[in-house]
Structure formats: C-alpha cells, structure tokens
Symmetry: C2
Amino acid sequence: MTIENLANLVAPELEKVNEKIIEASGNHVELIPTVAKYIISGGGKRVRPMFTLASAKMCGYQGNRHVNLAAAVEFMHTATLLHDDVVDESDKRRGRDTANNIWGNKPSVLVGDYLLGKAFQMMVADGSLEVLRILSDAAAHIAEGEVMQLSTTNNIETTLQQYIEVIDAKTASLFAAACEVGGAIVEDEAKSAALKEFGTNFGIAFQIIDDALDYSANPQKFGKTIGDDFREGKVTLPVIYAYERGGADDKNFWRNIIEEGAEIRESELNAAHKKIHDTGSFAATIEFAKNYGDKACKALNKFPDSEIKTAFFEIVDFCINRDF
Amino acid sequence: MTIENLANLVAPELEKVNEKIIEASGNHVELIPTVAKYIISGGGKRVRPMFTLASAKMCGYQGNRHVNLAAAVEFMHTATLLHDDVVDESDKRRGRDTANNIWGNKPSVLVGDYLLGKAFQMMVADGSLEVLRILSDAAAHIAEGEVMQLSTTNNIETTLQQYIEVIDAKTASLFAAACEVGGAIVEDEAKSAALKEFGTNFGIAFQIIDDALDYSANPQKFGKTIGDDFREGKVTLPVIYAYERGGADDKNFWRNIIEEGAEIRESELNAAHKKIHDTGSFAATIEFAKNYGDKACKALNKFPDSEIKTAFFEIVDFCINRDF
C-alpha cells in the first residue's frame, strides 16, 4: 500500500490529529460523541488531514497549526459523509452499517451539522481569515456539487462536462482546500496555488476511479458492493462513455435503466457491466483519470524534490495505476 | 402588531438585507435558488436579521457591514429550518408545504448545507474574527441543542433544567448571536455582552411561548396546528408542569402518551389540553416566560433611551403579554 509512505512521513502529527479529533468530538450530549466516534473511526484512511499535514511540511512549516486544521478538515469530511448517507439512503459504508441505519436520519443530519459548526470553531481558533476563506468556500462548493448531482442522477443525457463539474465540487474541492491550507499557513501564495492545483486534480482522478470501481472486473478486491451507483441511477463516467459509444439498442438499455427506473436484477447488472467493458468505456474512464493524475503531479513541479513529494506521487500512482 | 415599530426603524437596511439574500441565494444550480427562495420567502418576519440591524444601530454603527451580517444570520436560520423539517418529518410550516414535502429530504439537507456554507462565506467576506467566533459558536450550539432535544423527546422525566438547556441552545443562541454581532462590529465588549444577554433571554422567552401556543385556548389566532409537539412526543414546559402537578392518574396519562407512543386521537388531545389548563400549567408557563422577558429588558439598561430600545421592549411585550 503506497499510501503508507505518506502516512509514515506525517505519523507523529497524524497521531496528534487523532487526539484532537477525539477531544473535539467530546460533548456532554452523549449522542454527539457516540455518532461522531462511530463514523470517524469507520475505517477511513485520513487522506485529507494527511494531505494538510504533508502540504504544510512540504512548505517548510514548523508549528502546530496544521494539526488543528487537519482535524477541522476531517470534521468537514465526516459531516459530509453523515449527510451523504442520509441523502443516498445508504445502509452500508465500508462494509459497516451507516450511522443513519443504526440511529436513524435525525442524529445523522444533526451531528453532521454539529461537526461542521465545530470545524468552523476550530478554524476561528486558528485565527487565519485566509484559511477560513479557503474552507468556507469548500463547504459551500461541496454542497453545491451534491445538489448538482441530484439533477444529474437519473438523467442519461448528463454530459462529461457536467459530470466533471459535479465531482470537482463534491469531492475535489475538499482535497484542494486540504492541500491549499498547508500553503496558506506559511502565507506563500504561489505554493498555495500549486497545492490547490494538486488537490483539485488528485480529487477529480480519485472520484473518477472510485466511480469506475463500481463496474470493476474484480470488485471483491476493492471492498466495493458492485452496482450501487447503477442501482441509484447515478450517471458516472463509465456510463456516460458506454451510452455515447453504444448503438440504438444500448442507448435504449441505458435510458430504461437510468431514467425509467426499470427493475434492476442480476441480469441487468451483468449486461451493464458487459457493455461498459465491451465498448472500452471502462478502459477509457481509467485513461481519463490518468490525465488528471498527471496534472496533479505536474502541479508539484514548483516544489524541490523531497520524501513528501515522492510520497505524493506514489499516492497518485496508487490511486490510478492499479490492477482493476 | 408591535413588531412593526422595530421593522420601521430599520426598514431601509432590511430592504438591503432582502436584496442581499436574493443575490446570495442565486446559483447556476437551479435547485439551490428554487429551494432557498421558497423557504426564505415563507412568511418569516426576519426577526433575527432585524435584531442584528437594530443592535448595530443602537450601538451607533454607521456603515454597511450589519446588512451583510444580518443576511448571514438569516441564512443560518434558514439552514436550520430546512434541516428541522427533515428531522421532524414535518409536512407544513406556517401553513405552507415544507420544502421536504415538495422536493424530498435530499434537497432540504443539501440546500441547508449550502446556505450554511454561504453564511460562513459572507462572514469571512466581512472579515471580523470576533463575528466569526460568535456565529460559529452559535452554529455548533444550535446543532447541540437539536441533538439534545432528540434525547428529551419521548422522555417524560425531562427536567425543567434540561428543557431550558435545549431551548437556550437550539433557539436562544441564534437570537443571542444576532444581537451580539451588532455590538461586535463597533468593538464594544460591554455592549456586545449586554446585547447577547438580551438575545439569550428574549430567545428563551420566545421559545417557551411558542411551545405554550401548542396548547393555546385559541389556536386559530396564532396560526398554529394545535397538538403538533404533543403528537411528536416533545416534552415542553406545559407538559413538564402538568406532569409534575398531576396525580397518579395524570402521571400515567402523560407517560403513556409521551413515552409509550399511545395512539393520539382527538380525545387524548382534549384531555391533555384540559389537564394543562386545570393544573394551572399553562398560566405557569407564561409566567415563567415573563421572567425571561423581564431579564431581556433589564439587559438593555446599559443603553440610553432611544426609539430602537423602546421598540425592543415592545417586541418583548408583544411576544409575552398577549391574549392567549
């Protein structure tokens, strides 16, 4: 797992982030720490806070502010997970019951709101208006992307451009902000911009790959429940390509499934899978993600070679060039 | 309507707040302005932004910052309404269909998130860390109160202290913040503290009265659907008093209804109403709210007499001393 090199390089700080997360999710209202700890400890790899820590270190930052800000970034991420699960009506996340499945929608919505408020309190305690600008922009942008996604769901005419706009907002903007913050705390505009560029392109690549895995030939390997997006009528890049490349029968098939909400059985899922692979749409999706991975790496040209920079390259590589 | 005197005193600024609200809820993702405008134009009286404007003016503030901050306060309020309606599974708010009833839970959760993010963007644009502190504290506190309310719902042993803690957090903290911001922009700590004290006590009184109206003798007059809280098993002050003052039979009645979720028909609602009035619980609730109203007025002692101060007194009076 090549993500581990970056994790090792920021291990002491990441430990402090975890302590900060536990401390900041404490509350005398028991349901808050119960739900917060359940989701925060749900097997996520802390990629976003790791990016904040590593970005700050790559900019030569020496203090402790990146620890608190990395925790704030993770709180923002956790809040979106809680709300996403309510919106998607998901029962499972990473193989475990979702919080809304255990406690219902109410605590998921409200504890999500609490964590978002807490994230802003942590940023205010940090005291940088530039950091607050970056992360409040991200908060609004994430929600904008999620709302946009509602209108592309069940819409087979969704364009590549609309798809990219959605994932840029809902996923890439938080990766971008997590990285940009690392440059903002050393007040270096050029480095901030480069890190934002890295985070944006990494985030887009990451989401494209995540969407591709829904149609992977080898789903068990990635711990995905295959076909979830398909069942929810989400129009992701493999579907956009397969619809574009398919003949009249294929187009009817996709329209029926995605728009008309035709009942999805094993046979439909297998047919979708076959069409996506036979038309080369799966391979084209991975190829498209690679472009963003390349752009992410190029954005780091501004930084001298370092162990952290190498570890960032490895994560991009790990994300994209795997055995699908 | 004595609320109108305050509205008239800040009318030009309130007009600008409304323009700012329209502008800031614009977005190329159509569902965002559609849902936002629906709920923002839903017949609310803009009491919170009015309080921000009036507080700033009472502190002698001359600029334009209060307009943007009042709009941010209204966005925070709107976000909580959208999420509340999802949590309460409400079909109606102020006699109209709720947003979640029309568009479903998804846009309500996500547009709420968007408006909260937007509110923080507006505060960042204002540029005062003190204002950001006040309003991020309020955001976390509101959500904390809402989660706390989940654990008092269906719990007939809820104490007066727990009830006050819930309404202080879920309702009063935003009134308090809306007022405190008015002092913060003139950087006057003593005035900020007095305005916060006013907002807190007004907010508590306001919520107690709102809860009392659920058992009013004259519900049509207040546009309330009588018995909503009762049906949801919410333990509000009239119920706390009636349970405390009731005999063994009364206690059984309340426990059955509130905790066991006994089916609530017209006869149960009438019985609850009768018990609350016969035990003097309704009158005691109003009396209790009056104490907070008095404290709110006293907090304004620090300010010289002015038209705005008089209008604030009138609103407190209007809120509490009506013909129930």
